[in-house]
Amino acid sequence: MPIPGSDPVTQARRLSAPTDRAYERDTNLWVQSRGGDLVRIGLDELGQEMNGDLAFMQLAAPGTAVSRGQELGSVEAGKYVGPILSPVAGTVRAVNQAVLDRPRLANEDPLEGGWLVELELADGELLDHLVTDPTEIEAWFEARVREFRLKGVLAE
């Protein structure tokens, strides 16, 4: 399902959240429509900031069906291992081998070349539980970055 909105980029102190895609509110992942029921998923810029330099990654194999919140893979940075929880229900159709071979690609280019997987949405699965409206994305992302900085979660 196409995500409404134009292409301006929401920027909040260096970090950006393009409005041509949707965002999961808590897990720092973006979901971008690729036409039809196909969506592409990646770490947003807060996600790559939170993890730091990624060293290892594994992703579900093509053909794997996942439900919302189910583990889609895992990342490792500084000997920390964290799960990638699927923001949508669907079936994995493609994985980005380039980012598996060189996970730092997800740090360097999280919004484009460092994408993680492409999923075909499950029947009836919508994106309306995500942050999709451009205006809302802008406000949500700025607030989230501000919150993280106030808590000292992110470096200034």
Binding site: F56, L59, G78
Partner: protein, 351 residues
């Protein structure tokens, strides 16, 4: 923050891994935030969650030395663990650790550094997650998010068996094994190595308890494993010894393609690496050590016609201008480009 203390003393190697995995399940189900302190009564090998078992571990060495191998759901490489290491395993709900990985290590490792100082060793954080004294690694640590819990695991190394640490690793040949062992002897230390004496387990546990109590803001509450936690530990032990978990068989996943370079992390930002490349004269095996990306030692075998190039590489970064020209000037452009690419992989400071 209320934090429970589980002082478990000596437990089997398997249980020493199962405890924190099970406590993550317990905390996710509403159980208490916990600091577990323990040591393994038998030596074993632990391989990091994302690592390729066969590529990382010398399984025949482990079998011949009676060393079981367990995979952990925590990052990092392959490590040798034994009774001369006291483990601390902090398992808390993720709401206490909503911060970047770097900041989480800074906060959660600070009490361990305090405990080390109380034991007489001036430990400081090195890189993201090592505790070190004058650049020598004192403690290995790792973290993971498991369910709704975050776990930090680490060890206080009382005494270190460098030969075993290097012996468990799968490396290209005995020269590489000796190279890694020498690096570990230089850069991995212990309380005995620093002080000449070893504190008792009880003393280490006492200092860890005091330091993490200060961090929590109130004294730790001494507790015991609940019946449910005992059950979770037994179930985890079964999972950890299953071939599916160890070999990652049956897990439909996609991983990185094998690297042409075998890298061994000695301590934060310091690596030994080994790779082969094809010169006009045949295959050349390369051994290299780099600290923060700067080449400290490099050896080619055979090294006919390559000694000057090896000497010229020392002290330089493979990323700096001129490296391609340097190697291409010795081995030709096509081979030089490939060699420069391999050197860049071998010497990068990050994982």
């Amino acid at each position: 923050m209320r934090l429970r203390l589980l002082d478990l003393g000596g437990v089997s190697g398997l249980r020493s891994q199962a405890v924190y995995h099970a406590l993550c399940d317990s905390v996710s189900a509403g159980g208490p935030d916990t600091l577990a302190i323990l040591f393994p009564t038998n030596p074993y090998v632990s391989v990091g969650f994302h690592r390729d078992l066969e590529a990382e571990v010398d399984l025949s060495f482990c079998a011949s030395h009676g060393l079981p191998v367990y995979r952990r759901r925590v990052g990092g490489g392959t490590v040798y663990l034994d009774a001369d290491q006291v483990f601390f395993q902090l398992v808390v709900h993720e709401r206490h650790v909503r911060m970047s990985v770097d900041r989480a290590y800074a906060e959660l490792l600070a009490p361990a550094a305090v405990a080390y100082r109380a034991l007489g060793v001036v430990a400081e954080r090195l890189g993201i997650n090592d505790l070190a004294v004058d650049g020598r690694k004192l403690s290995g640590t790792g973290m993971a998010s498991i369910g709704d819990a975050v776990v930090l695991v680490g060890n206080v190394i009382l005494d270190v068996d460098h030969a075993a640490m290097a012996g468990i690793l799968r490396l290209p040949d005995s020269t590489a094994a000796a190279w890694v062992e020498a690096s570990m002897r230089r850069w991995v230390t212990s309380i005995r190595g620093e002080l000449g004496t070893v504190p008792t387990y009880d003393e280490v546990a006492r200092q860890l308890r005091a330091a993490y109590g200060a961090w929590a803001g109130e004294p730790l509450e001494v507790g015991r494993l609940s019946q449910r936690e005992e059950e979770l530990i037994r179930a985890t032990e079964e999972r950890l010894v299953s071939p599916d978990w160890l070999h990652r068989d049956g897990y439909e996943r996609t991983v990185a393609r094998p690297s042409p370079v075998r890298r061994v992390k000695i301590r934060a930002r310091r690596w030994d690496a080994f790779f082969d490349w094809e010169s006009s004269a045949g295959s050349i095996r390369t051994s290299i050590s780099a600290d923060d990306g700067v080449i400290e030692a490099v050896r080619f075998a055979p090294d006919d016609g390559l000694r000057e190039m090896a000497a010229a590489l020392v002290g330089r970064r493979s990323s700096e201008p001129g490296i391609v020209d340097l190697v291409a000037g010795t081995v030709g452009t096509t081979v030089g480009l490939r060699l420069a690419e391999l050197l860049a992989i071998a010497t990068r400071p990050e994982g």
